[in-house]
Amino acid sequence: MSTIPRFSRRRFLSVAAQTTALAAVASPLYLRPDRARAADGLAQGMTGGPTGFAGAERYQYGPDTPEGRAIEAAKALKATGKAPERIVLGLSDGSIGQITQPFPEGAPSVKELWEAETGIILDIVGVPNGQEFTKVMQDVSTNGGGFDIYAVEWNRLGDLAETGGIVALDDFVATHKPEWDDPERGYVNGEQGVSLLNGYRGSVYGVSLDGDFQTWNHRTDLFGNADEQKAFADQYGYDLAPPTTWKQHDEIAAFFHRPDQGLFGSTDLRNQGWGYTNWYQRYVSMASPNQFLFADDGTALINSEAGWAATQEYVDSLSHHSPDAISWGWPEQYGNFGNGSAAMTCAFSNLPKFLDNPGNEGSKVTGKVGTHLPPGREHADGNARRTVLWLNLTACVSSQSDHPEAAYLLLQWLGSSRIYSWMTANPGGYFDPFQLANFADPLVRETYHAYHMDVVRESVRRTVPTINYPGATAFHNALDENLMAALTGGMSAEQAMANTERQWQRIARRVGEDKLIDAIKANKAAWPTLMDPIAS
């Protein structure tokens, strides 16, 4: 594999794709089978989409939609023999259900619909959770060629793009117009949201299939209990309610922390690879509107009063966690919350969908889950309530794929608001809502709960992106390692930050500071400026 031939092959393919796409539109022949099917349950003017259930028309599309264009272009490729027999999609195990299980009653599955409309088989390969990037790197570095599409954590996009393992999708985007920034239906924050989730250094490298904005949950039964309210007010001098500041959060968590009764105050994660999402939240709210990680010139800002204080708070907060917090991953966290053993937690936006779910017989918290905006810190100009975007599956097209355009078309179809709303409403997997259309969709609101959906939308507006520059993995690992040392008492908060800073400097040199500064700026542009009013 060498850069030059790969580059030219990619060019060649995209040019070829444009030609065939045009040819397809011009020829009515290819549209005929679709017309025939359209009579069967599709709403007036629709050319495709799911059928067979009430409200299906919301997810159907006409020819002039991203979904419609994707399907037509795919069929055109197929007709000219330029489409593959099958597209292989590598995906976290837990997400597969949303594509393969029919939802709701009477509907086809997403996979069935795609295959019926395009004739291209969708072959989904499960990857164990947490191993997504490992598997992708294996495929990239060994030229395994096992996948057409990788689904990886969002902030690995930069690293992956640098490997040359994924292709830039700009040409396809230009040709097929996914309309991700549609102000009504598209990504939150429009163009800027798109570039945050799908872009790297000015090019599109991925298609977001997730909305992992870390969202806060609490137990309404505990917060609404009159005895608890009284006891709390007596002790702390203010009313028990979902916290608006970190101080309140820590006090409420301490109040509810009763391990001998099987109840923990708060169970947001503290393990490796996850714990720092909470550190992030505490750190970035240290200044108004944001406490940045890096200055514009690439200097790390964490080894500072703000960094030390956030780290100290973070370490102290262990006192209202499960004693096992450091070794828990999200499966333990979800299991514990579902078992009614936590008063608050911060998780993917899908927690209520899974645990406040009458179908989940194992859950003891059905009907008792509430959600709230992230706690914040009060500054002169308001309360900086911040949360982070972490993990977030984003699909990329492998540069080893022989049919990158077909792969892209699948992603455009999957990742556009109609199909995505339909898919995310399916309770069978991890794809979470993130587009404006998703939040408003009745089916999604049913699955994710209306009470939650608005909080998620508002949390998105207060979300800080985690590091997505090249070297993201190394940056996070260094931070992680030192925070963990602080958590386990091996290091003071100051030492941890000083150490992190030193390691970050090394990583920055390795990555190349010019690249980094570009990426930091792009990343910063996506940081929220919204400040909440300070409660009196």
Partner: protein, 286 residues
């Protein structure tokens, strides 16, 4: 030799104490495998030691029968990983045993391959993790990634040292007179090896093969790095048994763990006697 009563009491007490501790994890696995989801909770005040409502749901579940909607239906059942484990471990064992036995005989009888004892010890001593990058690249080049035969090949190589050392001690122990007698009868060396030596070595082969098989069967790390989808093995597959509904699917993991213990147990019972003899590594020669 007669032992005193107090010794007998001590013996049974000590063994009982050891077993009481050493059976906890196994008992827990057994218990988890038959617990319904409601009792999976491994932590907290409502811990259940023994299933209150024993069920086979966990076993049904990993073979694709979702007993209730609350568990995400499995897109891949345990059948294929079990097959992958069986194929890769068995053929890996076959490779190690074939090459190891032949080489052990060659060295023991004809003095060939004097470099092998040390080379193989070093091979075994070296952490596989440290060579996984070049191995991944080689395997990818040879098209062996995510194939059971690719896995079998690396298993065969990493357990070759054990096969070699075990068989070598057996050959060293074996009296040459029998072979010599056959040679005098006019058999070729090769024929003697196949028709006389190997049949005599059957118990040794069986115990060595079991040992090598267990090593291969237990592997997690190598399969983790060399398989991706079609041929993931049991331990790798097991890692994917988790869901947002219930957290880790511990019951399913335990059920699969129980199934994974079946082949070694069956083989172990089949050749219990030889196993003990086989593991002395020829150290008891005078």
């Amino acid at each position: 030799m007669q032992r005193s009563l107090s010794f007998e009491i001590f013996r049974y007490t000590a063994i009982a104490l050891f077993l009481a501790l050493s059976l906890i994890p196994t008992a827990w696995m057994l218990s988890m495998a038959f617990k319904p989801i409601a009792e999976w909770q491994s932590s907290g005040v409502d811990l259940t030691w023994w299933p209150n409502n024993p069920t086979l749901d966990n076993f049904r579940f990993i073979f694709g029968h979702s007993s209730s909607d609350l568990i995400v239906a499995l897109d891949r059942t345990a059948g294929r990983p079990i097959l992958a484990s069986l194929l890769s471990a068995s053929f890996g064992t076959a490779i190690a045993m074939t090459a190891g036995t032949a080489a052990a005989y060659g060295l023991s009888r004809f003095g060939f391959g004097g470099n092998l004892p040390l080379a193989l010890i070093q091979l075994r001593l070296f952490p596989p993790m440290a060579v996984m990058i070049p191995v991944m690249i080689m395997w990818a080049f040879l098209g062996l990634i995510d194939t059971w035969w690719g896995l079998a090949l690396i298993y065969g190589i990493v357990t070759l040292p054990f096969a070699f050392w075990l068989m070598k001690t057996f050959f060293d122990d074996m009296p040459r007179e029998i072979e010599d007698a056959a040679l005098v009868e006019g058999c070729s060396r090769w024929r003697v090896f196949l028709r006389v030596t190997l049949p005599m070595m059957r118990p040794a082969l069986a115990s060595s093969a079991l040992f090598v098989f267990i090593l291969n069967w237990s592997d997690y790390l190598i399969a983790l790095l060399l398989t991706t989808r079609d041929w993931v093995t049991i331990p790798v597959y097991m890692a994917s048994l988790s869901s947002s509904m219930t957290g880790q699917l511990y019951g399913a993991k335990a059920a699969l763990g129980l199934i994974a213990a079946v082949p070694p147990v069956i083989m172990g019972i089949a050749i219990q006697k030889q196993l003990v003899r086989g593991l002395t590594f020829g150290a008891l020669k005078e």
